[in-house]
């Protein structure tokens, strides 16, 4: 019976909708600000976004106050790629290790990678996986910096480093 009650509770918990609130983002933008606390670690972090029930990043909700990083739900242009890497770091790590995938393709698009450079771009990141993702609890700030360095050191890809 106890086991059944447990299952029942699980079922009820499933029925309970996953919704709650994160606080509005305030202050200026930058690493260490509330928005960019910097995600850490290489395993997928979907749960980190959702265990407190929040549906995605509520700081970016239409209702939130305007912050230094975002204006009414939209990320300031100079933080666009950084925000993308921060929010998709684990998917990006997966794609880079495989040399393909939607997250990597999206990042390339964001950075403006030309069709002709795409293969080289993917390969460069893949070959330098261990440099970019240097440890198991690497944070997104260092991932971003390392990616820039890796691209800068390859002559034909160096201009993408500035876009990152």
């Amino acid at each position: 019976m106890e086991k059944f009650m447990k299952k029942l509770l699980i079922l009820l918990a499933l029925i309970a909708p996953l919704t709650a609130f994160a606080q509005d983002d305030v202050g200026t933008c930058g690493w260490g600000s509330k928005l960019f606390e910097g995600n850490r670690g290489l395993a997928p972090k979907v749960l980190a976004v959702t265990t407190n029930g929040s549906s995605g990043n509520q700081t970016f909700a239409m209702t939130s106050a305007t912050s230094g990083c975002s204006r009414d739900g939209v990320v300031r242009s100079n933080w666009k790629t950084v925000y993308f890497i921060d929010q998709n770091m684990n998917r990006l790590a997966r794609d880079i290790s495989r040399g393909e995938g939607e997250t990597l393709a999206s990042l390339s698009q964001l950075v403006g990678v030309e069709k002709a450079d795409q293969v080289a771009f993917n390969a460069e990141l893949k070959n330098n996986f261990s440099t970019i993702f240097a440890s198991e609890n690497v944070d997104s700030k260092s991932v971003h910096a390392a990616m820039k360095t890796v691209l800068a050191s390859n002559q034909s890809l160096a201009n993408y480093s500035n876009n990152l």
């Binding site: 059944f4 299952k7 029942l8 079922l11 009820l12 918990a13 499933l14 029925i15 309970a16 909708p17 996953l18 919704t19 709650a20 609130f21 670690g41 290489l42 395993a43 997928p44 972090k45 979907v46 749960l47 976004v49 959702t50 407190n52 549906s55 995605g56 990043n57 970016f60 909700a61 239409m62 209702t63 204006r71 009414d72 739900g73 939209v74 990320v75 300031r76 925000y83 929010q87 684990n90 790590a93 997966r94 880079i96 290790s97 495989r98 040399g99 393909e100 939607e102 393709a105 999206s106 390339s108 698009q109 993917n122 893949k126 070959n127 996986f129 261990s130 993702f133 198991e136 609890n137």
Partner: protein, 622 residues
């Protein structure tokens, strides 16, 4: 639903206030009167014409949104006040209402010197959203998460409609309720009766993909729509007006999909989408209403969920490698040694599957972070050191929800039960059962909601035979890695024999079964569920019977018909002591999208009596 009732009554009383209380503004010129009737103006203010009385009522529940005192109910006064205040308060106010300004400039030729560039905040925002296309997004239902049962809809503003790589970081607009994480029952109550505020939220599309596709395991359908840049610009201007603007949220009618129709009406008022729905809004129905407009849908894209991708990868991996991949996660050291012995291609296959399995465990909260981080780090490092890219993963495409049957259903048929003939009439308000045509649905799921059956016997006596409130079934066959729970939940009334009386009464029944399902082959699965059952009627000894039982069934989908054979045995030992046994088969032929034909035979034993029933039904979906 009660929520539309409250709207109606409110509208009725307000009508008197309007007729006797409102003072006509002197600035009501003929041009203003004309534009106030324009569908575009009515769409921008989210007005709905009252059902019983003349006049309008806006869905917006934030008073500050309106510039006239009675603006929520009076499109003319609101337009007049807008023009007047734009004049007196200058550019600052029109920067808060860029869509209104746009319309007034176009139709009334006023304020023509005002430019978007005068509104730097809005201008920056609009530039960052960079909307060049609109895509309708439909996360399909996934029954193991009942909150998602009816699907969901939202919009994506594509930054580069011709290039799907830009989709992931384009912005989406999603209407949702602020529920403050309140638990299920409170959510249900407040949601149904309109206690929550709802807002349109702008967020990068990847945020929503993470939520719907990864966490909630829902396949997503994307429908690129054909709108002109002018229409899209007006929508973005209007979204700026909707910042911090509240629409009361009602689960059944004024829900996400309903308000989304209101936004599409802003894009193109002539579609008149919202007025096609009244008191019962199911997301897949709104999807069809939108797509019904010829040439509006440019392309369809299927985005499989994380779990669909994992299942596809699992299905395409040789059994030997599955064993190693699982071991690599659960017993890393042993797994590592095994992988070292494989060929390059097998290594890649195994590592990719292992990582996706880890991903699945993390998303399901089945592995702690201090274990998953190092594991992921090693796996990905190992993978990156292997030269080649992974082969493309082919995920079997689900059938398009646009082609699915409608959610309401009626049936007419003949029943021969316990040696008596009846005519049988059915009405179901929503949504889909195990045997309905599976086009556009995930096989093995059922959501019957408000399903009624009436019988007319040879003496012309009409009686209610069944009134199902909710009947949910989720049969998810597992695989080598995943063993999901299958379950069935029922609550409703059913006419049946009570307490050796040889009489039938309407019995209130509650049942919950949990168990497992296994795939036999493509299209066939068997399941075994066990659970509790409870029946309530004053004719029962102690007014009720409670017990437990098992269900065993075989469900199959063939090309032109679906079939189900099930045995259900219940033993009631609290209250009225008795057993119930029922077994039978059902065979359903989808004739086309709107018509199905079904045969059912069953043998039933309640108390001492055993009887057979034969049913032949014709279903119509609408």
């Amino acid at each position: 639903m009660s929520c539309s009732l409250s709207r109606l009554t409110a509208g009725f009383f307000l009508h008197f206030v309007l007729v006797f209380g409102a003072v006509a503004e002197s600035s009501l010129t003929p041009e203003i009167k004309e534009l106030a009737k324009d569908p575009q103006w009515l769409a921008l203010l989210h007005y709905k014409s009252n059902t019983l009385t003349p006049g309008y009522q806006s869905f917006i529940d934030t008073p500050e949104f309106f510039l006239a005192e009675d603006g929520a109910r009076n499109p003319e006064n609101e337009l007049a006040a807008t023009v007047k205040k734009f004049e007196s308060e200058g550019i600052k106010l029109s920067c808060r209402y860029p869509a209104r300004l746009n319309l007034i400039q176009a139709k009334l030729k006023l304020f023509l010197d005002r430019k978007v560039a005068d509104c730097p905040e809005f201008d920056e925002w609009q530039g960052l959203i960079a909307a060049k296309g609109v895509t309708l997004i439909f996360p399909a239902s996934f029954l193991n998460n009942p909150a998602s049962a009816f699907g969901h809809t939202f919009l994506r503003l594509d930054q580069d409609p011709k290039n799907s790589k830009a989709d992931y970081y384009s912005y989406s607009i999603n209407f949702s309720a602020h529920t403050f994480g309140e638990p299920g029952l409170i959510y249900a109550f407040k949601g149904i009766f309109g206690f929550y505020n709802g807002y349109f939220k702008v967020a990068p599309y990847f945020e929503l993909v993470k939520r719907y596709s990864d966490l909630e395991k829902r396949d997503i359908w994307e429908y690129r729509l054909d709108f002109k840049q002018k229409e899209i610009d007006l929508l973005v201007q209007h979204l700026w007006e909707l910042r911090n603007i509240n629409f009361n949220y009602y689960y059944f009618d004024e829900n996400c999909s309903y308000h989304l129709l209101g936004l599409i009406d802003v894009l193109r008022p002539s579609l008149k989408l919202r007025e096609k729905f009244n008191n019962w809004v199911i997301p897949s129905d709104t999807l069809k209403a939108i797509a019904k407009n010829k040439d509006l849908v440019l392309a369809k894209i299927f985005r499989p969920s994380l779990s669909s991708k994992f299942n596809a990868r699992e299905a395409s991996t040789p059994p030997k490698l599955k064993v190693i991949a699982k071991e690599r996660i659960l017993k890393p050291e042993a797994g590592e040694k095994e992988i070292a012995t494989l060929s390059l291609e097998d290594k890649i296959t195994t590592l990719d599957l292992a990582y996706d399995y880890l991903d699945y465990l993390v998303v399901g909260d089945k592995i702690p972070a201090d274990k998953s981080d190092p594991l992921a780090f090693k796996l990905l490092n190992e993978r990156s050191s292997l030269g080649q890219s992974s082969p493309e993963l082919l995920v079997p495409k689900q059938t398009d929800p646009l082609d699915s049957h409608a959610s309401q259903r009626v049936a007419y048929g003949g029943l021969y039960q316990d040696k008596k003939y009846y005519q049988s009439f059915d009405l179901r308000l929503a949504y889909h059962d195990l045997l309905d045509s599976q086009v556009g649905f995930i096989p093995g799921s059922q959501i019957n909601f408000m399903d009624f059956n009436f019988l007319l016997d040879s003496q012309q006596d009409f009686s209610l035979n069944r009134a199902t409130i909710v009947d949910l079934v989720s049969l998810s066959p597992g695989n080598y890695f995943l063993k999901p729970l299958s379950w069935a939940l029922h609550t409703g009334f059913q006419r049946e024999e009570v307490n050796f009386s040889d009489q039938t009464k309407l019995v209130y029944k509650n049942e919950l079964y949990l168990g497992r399902s296994t795939k036999l082959n493509e299209g066939n699965q068997v399941y075994l569920l066990g659970g509790v059952a409870n029946k309530i009627n004053t004719y029962f000894e102690n007014n009720q019977a409670t017990g437990g039982g098992v269900k065993f069934g075989w469900l199959g989908y063939a090309k032109s018909f679906n079939y189900l054979t099930e045995i259900n045995y219940n033993r009631y030992f609290f209250g009225d002591n008795h057993t119930g046994l029922k077994y039978g088969s059902k065979l359903n032929f989808p004739l086309n999208k709107d018509w199905n034909f079904r045969l059912e035979i069953a043998r039933e034993k309640d108390y001492q009596e055993t009887f057979n029933s034969y049913l032949m039904n014709l279903y119509y979906y609408f």
